[in-house]
Amino acid sequence: MMRPIRSLAWRELVRFFRQPHRVVGSLAQPLLLWLFLGSGFSASFRPPGLAGVSYLEYFFPGILLMLVLFAGIFSTITLIEDRNQGLLQGVLVAPVPRMAIVLGKVGGAMAVALTQVLLLLVAIPFLGLSLGWAEGILLLLGLLTAALGFTALGFLIAWHMESTAGFHAIMSVFLMPLWLLSGALFPMEQTPGWLQWLMQINPVTHALRLLRLPFYQEASALLGQPEYRLALLVAISWAVGCLGVALWQVNRLERGAPLP
């Protein structure tokens, strides 16, 4: 099962890097957003309890998450192209477990997203942030779990879509708010009650915690902290759930109606 997954995932990566406009578009948007918003808000950003944290720094984990989310999910959009071009049919008639088809696509999209995230991690020392080995591993774990969960979400949304335009529409009314309400742009503590409640049930909020907390606490302390543990649990359950639904969808065949 590993070889088909590897082969299908490799295809996604090659395709991504052979389309330079995709590389540029996917990386430039979050980067510009981060630089402009981060620099612009830095002067007025003075939330209580976050003294000494510039907005550029506060926003950094949010931008990492944005890359994971958007690059991952938008890579699964290629599923719609694959189906329309007939390529998907060719994969579906191959004697491979259906899970390999899901993981091939999801794995490839994850690789695309994480490659870009790694490029952005270069900024860490310039922000005055530091990361020990153990914390680095926790950050990587967070990135992987978040990427897996949200790429699988992209897969299961794209599976039934007939056009990429429809996918974009769903994503902008669904994905963008999820990201906005994750605490990526502003801290949750000072928001109105209803908003806090929305942010608390948002799975992306938990994914963000996995990416932010390793910068500020030691690994041993994190693993004992209920907030971090909950975030990890939510992110892993989210990933398993989305993969499960995606697999169920791929397994479901078009069926003839029963005879009258």
Binding site: V93, A94, G256, L259
Partner: protein
């Protein structure tokens, strides 16, 4: 007797029994795409399924590939129940779809390598088969070119190489020559017929081109979800007798009038399609009478040996248009 019974299934590579497929529709009774189709295709046969658009060809194809489950019936491929054991059935199949199943961004080699990975072909076997297959396909020099840069004919050849790379005993092809020019079609068929000999393939293909069907060992005509007739091209043609007479008139009423006159003659079968009258089983006397006494009533009269197209029209015309008189 019992020995014969046991040998029968081993020789049948594709066995379709009473296949029915209904498409569910909202607020309407389901649409019947296939109705009680039964078909057995023997090993090493090139079987061509013809039929107009919407006849059920594509539905049958999707079921055979394991992409759809029928409402009723069974499909057995080389003894493997396709519906119960889809993964085992997939191993037996090489499939060429109507729409290209190649990644245009990747090179020929990269596409084939992915196919090898999906079918568990190891590196040494892959190299060996690639060398052999590229020789007949004439693709050696272009292995590293992206599929997007290939001509339609060449891309189809890559599809064929890909479909046969895992050496399947059964090949399914849905309108494989779609979009090819006549030269490309001829090349494709030459390659296909040679490969069938060399690899003893059982091939089921769909086509709406009768000159293609003419090259098949067996032809089946599918119409409105029903398999109307199957047989060798020669046997199907001989159903219509030795000569086929096609008369064109200026007006439908003239054709109807001629039909009324001819219907008094014994052994004549006629299909009227507006101003056209298609006649089989005509005797020389009647033909002479038609030419000398009724010349004013028609514009042209053509006599030819029946073709598969004639067979197709004969079987798919509405039954009220066919008159059989003994």
């Amino acid at each position: 007797m019992s020995i014969q019974k046991k040998r029968q299934p081993a020789q049948t590579m594709i066995d379709i029994q009473q296949l029915t497929h209904l498409y569910p529709r909202r607020h309407q009774p389901p649409y019947r795409a296939l109705a009680d189709c039964t078909l057995a295709i023997a090993a090493n046969t090139l079987f061509t399924l013809t039929g107009p658009n919407g006849s059920g060809k594509s539905t049958l194809f999707r079921i055979l590939c394991g992409l759809a489950r029928p409402s009723a019936g069974t499909v057995t491929l080389s003894g493997v129940d396709c519906l119960r054991n889809p993964t085992a059935a997939r191993r037996l199949l090489g499939v060429v779809f109507q729409h290209p199943a190649l990644d245009k961004q990747l090179s020929i080699l990269e596409n084939l390598r992915i196919h090898a990975a999906l079918h568990g072909i190891d590196a040494a076997t892959f190299r060996q088969r690639l060398a052999a297959d590229l020789a007949w396909a004439g693709l050696e020099m272009r292995l590293h070119e992206r599929v997007a840069t290939l001509s339609g004919g060449l891309a189809r050849r890559v599809e064929l190489v890909k479909a046969l790379l895992h050496r399947p005993p059964i090949v399914l092809m849905d309108e494989p020559t779609n979009g090819l020019d006549p030269g490309g079609r001829r090349d494709f068929f030459d390659a296909l017929l040679r490969l069938r000999r060399e690899q003893s393939l059982t091939i089921l293909m769909t086509s709406h081109l009768f000159d293609e069907a003419e090259q098949a060992d067996q032809v089946g005509i599918l119409h409105q979800g029903r398999l109307l007739t199957t047989g060798t091209p020669a046997a199907l043609r001989s159903q219509l007798g030795r000569d086929m007479v096609v008369i064109q008139t200026r007006q439908t009423t003239e054709a109807s009038a001629l039909r009324a006159i001819l219907s008094a003659r014994p052994g004549i079968r006629m299909v009227q399609r507006e101003q056209e009258l298609r006649i089989t089983g005509i005797d020389p006397d009647t033909l002479q009478q038609l030419l000398f006494q009724h010349r004013e009533q028609f514009e042209s009269l053509v006599i030819h040996h029946p073709t598969l197209e004639d067979v197709f029209i004969h079987h798919t015309s509405p039954s009220q248009a066919i008159e059989v008189l003994s």
